[in-house]
């Protein structure tokens, strides 16, 4: 590693990062862009979280206390749009930007200027989207799924919704192109594809999914736009169109989208568990094949979101079987992570705690997903709180916990200082307890017959709703602790971190100093000593 170390010393410091706002507005450095994505996603997470608190406050008891039904629908719609497109996806892109070049021994992303645009489009897109809250008719209120004809009843916000979705899509597509080109072209020569770390693999697969489906969403929302303003009838039955066709097109995007949101999480957990179990990832190649199978299968299951729409029997049977099949490669991954833990020598620092909670709770989300796949019972679960429970389990203790695990894991590398471990653990325990208090009762509510997207409910649903609301408030407040820990670490208040930070972690990122220098791997490193991957 000596040539890499010497090169790290060699960065032309007399250029260094630009000073002031220019450093950020004109950023082409993958570390700076990664930081911006992560800060942006944290802010969006808090904004989306506030909306969730409005929702849960109203739902705490029967009767309408705080908001009108129209505004409640705006909150549920915006909460989802912000969390999906503003919090989860940008966070994973931020992690990709920071870590992929370092993990493959590359000096930066392949297309640094496009990288800049990928990021800066997002604040514009979300300003547009959030500004609709102040418009005549309010923000979009038809659900993040934007089904017509209902979405065409949106007021002035409608074109802004479409435009901001387009902008977010462009950002994601450009980011995905960058990831693919970087991974395929800039790996250090010793690093063959199967030697890549799992985080890089899962991002390679995710990037292909993004390129495949974001244009489909763009097509769908453009058709909404033309139906509204240019006299087309893609989705209007009176003109010969079909509202259900929108659902097909949307979910053809939507299902791979949820795998886009979980595959990088799988990658993160595959990095963290081996480090803290002090044991190599079990079945590395198998994990690659499993992730690829999941990605492939994700294209042929979309209509499981539409089982009540009036689909022919054959269609229902096909989508039921294909959806059940996804449980197989997903199970393989869960077993491989468990086998990684097995006969390791585990310690439980905060990144490991979040990864273990991911393992348990994402698996629970997987079980409710399997139940949802079975059509006759799905007839009862569909559009009820059972679905809300399912997707929050896979997204919150799934994606979000993986993001937090990654942040705790790599923060010392980014800042050069340890975060406060005691507060990190406290954040972990509070989050884990409250996430379960919030979302577990929702399984019962759905089974008992409570539909989703309603601002008020019949009194027999009251008990579990008050529990869920208390959990939500607790979970929301706990995230302030996370903000505090991250900010304190960024201010370099903790102990200094070594380049390895943890106990002999594998991966090229641990061969550079902490904080990682502004430019790393100006010369490609060798990976001969096997330290490149877990």
């Amino acid at each position: 590693m000596s040539s890499a170390a010497a090169d790290v010393q060699h960065t032309d410091d007399h250029h260094g990062p630009a000073k002031g706002w220019r450093r950020w507005l004109y950023a082409t450095n993958h570390k700076d862009i990664g930081t911006m994505y992560l800060v942006f996603s944290l802010v969006m997470f808090l904004v989306g979280g506030l909306m969730a608190l409005v929702i849960r406050s109203e739902l705490m008891t029967p009767g309408l206390q705080f908001v009108h039904p129209e505004f409640f629908n705006q909150m549920t719609t915006m909460h989802a749009l912000i969390m999906v497109f503003g919090a989860v996806m940008p966070a994973f892109v931020g992690l990709a930007n920071w870590m992929i070049p370092m993990m493959i021994g590359a000096p930066d992303m392949a297309l640094p200027r496009m990288n800049n645009w990928s990021f800066w489009i997002l604040p514009v897109a979300f300003s547009l989207l959030l500004s609709t809250l102040l418009m005549q008719g309010g923000a979009p209120a038809s659900g993040w799924t934007m089904y017509p004809p209902l979405v065409l009843q949106t007021g002035d916000a409608f074109p802004f919704l479409i435009f901001s979705v387009h902008l977010m899509g462009v950002s994601s597509i450009m980011g995905a192109i960058n990831v693919i080109v970087t991974i395929l072209n800039l790996r250090t020569p010793d690093m063959t594809l199967l030697k890549m770390p799992m985080f890089v693999w899962t991002w390679l697969i995710t990037a292909y999914l993004l390129i495949a489906v974001m244009p489909v969403l763009a097509g769908a929302v453009t058709m909404l736009l033309t139906d509204q303003f240019f006299g087309t009838s893609f989705f209007l039955a009176a003109g010969g169109g079909d509202p259900v066709m929108f659902q097909h097109i949307f979910w053809f995007f939507g299902h791979p989208e949820v795998y886009i949101m979980i595959l990088p999480a799988f990658g993160v957990v595959s990095e963290i568990i081996p480090t803290f179990a002090r044991k190599p990832l079990f079945g590395h190649d198998s994990m690659v094949y499993a992730a690829s199978s999941i990605a492939f299968l994700s294209f042929i299951v979309w209509a499981h979101h539409m089982f009540t729409v009036g689909m022919p029997l054959t269609g229902q049977l096909f989508f039921m079987f294909a959806t059940m099949l996804i449980a197989v490669p997903t199970g393989v991954k869960v077993f491989n992570w468990t086998a990684t833990m097995w006969r390791g020598a585990m310690t439980f620092e905060t990144p490991m705690l979040f990864s273990l909670a991911f393992l348990f709770l994402f698996t629970i989300g997987g079980f409710s997903g399997l139940m949802l796949a079975v059509v006759p019972s799905d007839i009862q679960y569909h559009d009820s709180y059972f679905v809300v429970a399912h997707f929050h389990y896979v997204l919150v203790p799934g994606s979000i916990f993986a993001i937090m695990a990654a942040v705790y894991y790599w923060l010392p590398k980014w800042t050069g200082h340890m975060y406060n471990e005691a507060l990190g653990k406290l954040h972990f325990w509070l989050s884990t307890i409250f996430v379960n208090v919030t979302f577990f009762p929702m399984h019962f509510l759905g089974l008992a017959g409570m539909p989703r997207r309603i601002p008020d409910y019949s009194t027999q649903f009251a008990d579990f709703n008050v529990i869920a609301s208390i959990g939500a408030i607790g979970f929301g407040l706990s995230q302030l602790l996370f903000v505090y820990v991250v900010v304190q670490c960024a201010r370099r208040t903790g102990a200094e971190a070594s380049s390895e930070v943890w106990d002999s972690p594998k991966g090229l990122e641990w061969t550079v100093p902490s904080p990682a220098p502004y430019h790393t791997f100006n010369e490609p490193p060798t990976v001969a000593d096997g330290r490149a991957f877990s």
């Binding site: 038809s142 039921m320 017959g449």
Partner: protein, 268 residues
Amino acid sequence: MIRKLSLGVFGLLAATGAGAEWALNMPRGVTELSAETYELHMMVFYWCCAIAAVVFGAMIYSLIRHRKSAGANPAKFSHSMTAEVIWTVIPIIILLVMAVPAAETLIRLEDSRKPDLTIVVTAYQWKWHYEYQGQDLSFYSTLSRTSGDARRKGSGIDPFTVDNYLLDVDRPLVVPQGAKVRLLLTSSDVVHSWWVPDFAIKKDAIPGFVNETWFRPQETGVFRGQCAELCGMDHGYMPIVVEVVEQGAFQAWLAGEKEDAARFAAAN
């Protein structure tokens, strides 16, 4: 607290759950297919519990025994083709075991041939319209007055004092016990969905299209449901109430309704 909770779990897991607080499970319902749906749901659930016991059991065991603080030395193994094959094949077999009854129930669900009664259901923002096909009887069904008054923001009326709050209508759908009732669903505006948990049916009402579903209620009683597709402002305020009555009572009701309708038409 834990004891109370687990007693509650065991007690209520078996309960029908409809209308009960702290309901933990789906209702068994009052049709043959709702019972089949319930059994299928429980079967998949039990499989999930079994798999969870094994997988979480292994994880918890590992968390306790394989920790550095307990003096564990990390092993070096990193792969096993045998393990991969086993834990791919066994889940596939389990899925096949689940898929067979699931497919059978689904095929039965979709068989709407030879109905005894057909009702055309049209969804509106925000109420339902029912037309008894061939009977010259149709009416709207909207949220009841008591619920409608209480639901307003700051109404000052405690929902707990309202009977069947948000689940009550002015004119319920009435159907005869034991009859195969076919529903033809459509919408006049946006997508809605007709859902009654006790019948285990839910079908979208889509403008410009006609969807079909059916149920054969085996018991008399009043069964309640709600719209299950976001349809705008009052999506939560367009419930469904179905009264299942004995055959004789149904004929009497039908005659009475048609007489009322005729008298109303004559007077206007």
